[in-house]
Symmetry: C2
Subunit: 410 residues, 2 copies
Amino acid sequence: MPLKKSPLAPAAFPSFPEIAGVRFACGNSGMRYKSRDDVMLAEFAPGTTVAGVFTKNSMPGAPVDWDRKILSNGTARGLVVNAGIANVFTGTAGVRTVEETAAAAARLLSSTPEQIYIASTGVIGDPVPTEKITGLLPRLAETLSADGGETAANCILTTDTFAKGAVGTARIGETEVTIAGFAKGSGMIAPDMATMLAFLFTDAAIPANALQSLLSETNEKTFNCVTVDSDTSTSDSVLLFATGQADNDLPESYDDVVLHDFKRALKDVMTNLAQQVARDGEGASKFITVTVTGAESDASAKTIALAIANSPLVKTAIAGEDANWGRVIMAVGKSGEKADRDRMSLKIGGVLIAENGGRASSYREEDVTPYMKGREIEIEVDVAVGSGSAFAWTCDLTHGYIDINADYRS
Amino acid sequence: MPLKKSPLAPAAFPSFPEIAGVRFACGNSGMRYKSRDDVMLAEFAPGTTVAGVFTKNSMPGAPVDWDRKILSNGTARGLVVNAGIANVFTGTAGVRTVEETAAAAARLLSSTPEQIYIASTGVIGDPVPTEKITGLLPRLAETLSADGGETAANCILTTDTFAKGAVGTARIGETEVTIAGFAKGSGMIAPDMATMLAFLFTDAAIPANALQSLLSETNEKTFNCVTVDSDTSTSDSVLLFATGQADNDLPESYDDVVLHDFKRALKDVMTNLAQQVARDGEGASKFITVTVTGAESDASAKTIALAIANSPLVKTAIAGEDANWGRVIMAVGKSGEKADRDRMSLKIGGVLIAENGGRASSYREEDVTPYMKGREIEIEVDVAVGSGSAFAWTCDLTHGYIDINADYRS
């Protein structure tokens, strides 16, 4: 299934730095993709702390169950990711797959299985040929390399059209630390979580409980603002590994002022990756930012923003480069949230289109026609009932989405 | 925009009977569609009772506001429907359009404006050229005819590819009464309400309050089970007019046993129309029935059924004739409703595919492959936590949907 690279992709994958204490290796299992790597092993130095956030779908895959269970240990020594089969709705066989994979990796990395994280994406319900993963791991363990980040970012993809990476640096006290991460996902993407898989690595030393608070908070304003098709995956996982090799002063807690700059950098990296996921939405030709203000609360604003961002009619209109703004009004109304029809206002590309219950008298459609032909579309709605605000990132709904999804397994 | 007739359409429009006390007339206003009728006037005999149910979208059009306001009067003398411009988000001008239209029709039908119902569908936000409607009404009033039902059913269409009619008869006591109705709608269709417009006419004599209970109850199990694209329209209205000309014994209340057969017939007619709406879903190539059992409650079952029926990934898989059942599992999980992953079961076309948390051992994909190529797809899910049940009707998501909606206004 050769997919054309999304026109919204960044110019290039970033120069992916080595993170002290992290090594990668990739290989082909032959389980689904024949001519590319599809299994990734990452090794973390002893003492690495870990944080994770996972899908809220009530049918999570066996890897999500596993990761959730071991997360309370707070430390990680390895990560195994496979692409092509999701190990979801696979019953006790799926649980065994995870246990055997963790055990095999643990032996190779001199770890316990409870320090090995697992993630899988791909077809739901198909059984996983476990030995194709476990049989590959010894060779991967021999080829672990600190400079394998970009290869790893490619290895975990499924219907993605480009690898998604982001890099940042921050100071913790006097020490400069690095954060680098990659993500995959382009369909079955909706909050909570919004991406399918994202892995973040830093050489910073941060206690696990503080790391978890950092990740959970930042996730709300990044990956949980992305939607492609409103379908919440059963596999979504974001994991943040901190190797501690930078030897910075250990923050006392999440609130420690020493973490201020790290929070900024983490948010930048996660924002970058989350936007790339929407930019690689299946069939995407436009990147859409929806901003809602004046809502009853931030949560209400987010519900409205997602109602707009998930509306097939809004998304097809944008695909058609049509400023059919009435559909945005419809989506606000279907959200079920409080909005004042007769006082709300709507802008597209900064142009005031509607206010006071009707079309703005200043509005001429030709004012936004050229804007609609662009790659980046901004929709701003003020619902005029309060001060809550939120945003959502999404993409348009095109023939490409149908092509990819009507024919995914064949 | 010539659209090919849906392959799911019934063989023919039903023979539409004259309903004593109802007359129709249609004409072209020239406001949007140039070469077909787009305004319908219906006249009802004095004493006609009326019931209505409307969209729950919080941005309703001016016609919905108007109908809601006058519904408590309980009687109707006329109905004016236009296609092409929805009169939604049109501010005070839209309110004037409705008031002037009702006043003009009332003068012609020797009625009060508060007995004239209005419905409009089409583009949201465009101003309505009121005089194109009111200027046409005198001519329509002169051509009112009892046999104009099929013409009227065609006149109200927008992106529909076929007119949707249904007819039934029932006994109230010793008297045979007729129910006939037509509906329009094929996109921006989701509960509540599920259709855009449906009008039902009967010669039965039924008090307005009983009529309202009949309509509201039946609507829950018919139009409110249809979804095409999860986008809830701002115009959805279902109106039921009872002229009383059949001169049956007047039921005392909704609970009167004399209404038993009428309830059955009304449900048959509304079921028929509701299914036709899904069969004319924009771009539809398959009609899908989702049945959910074993839920915590009927309401929970309906939420799950709609999560499946609205999932773009489920709908594109069916368009691709792909039994990608894992996406159904995903949709159950994203619904947020209680379901037992490790005990639930799933059938497609009656074939058991999944049970006890995994693929059924008896399942072979070739067992459903021929079935997926058919026009009618049945999905049955038992979520194994209780005894609640519900169903939903929808259609697949195809290139046709994108074609129609990326280019609707041009």
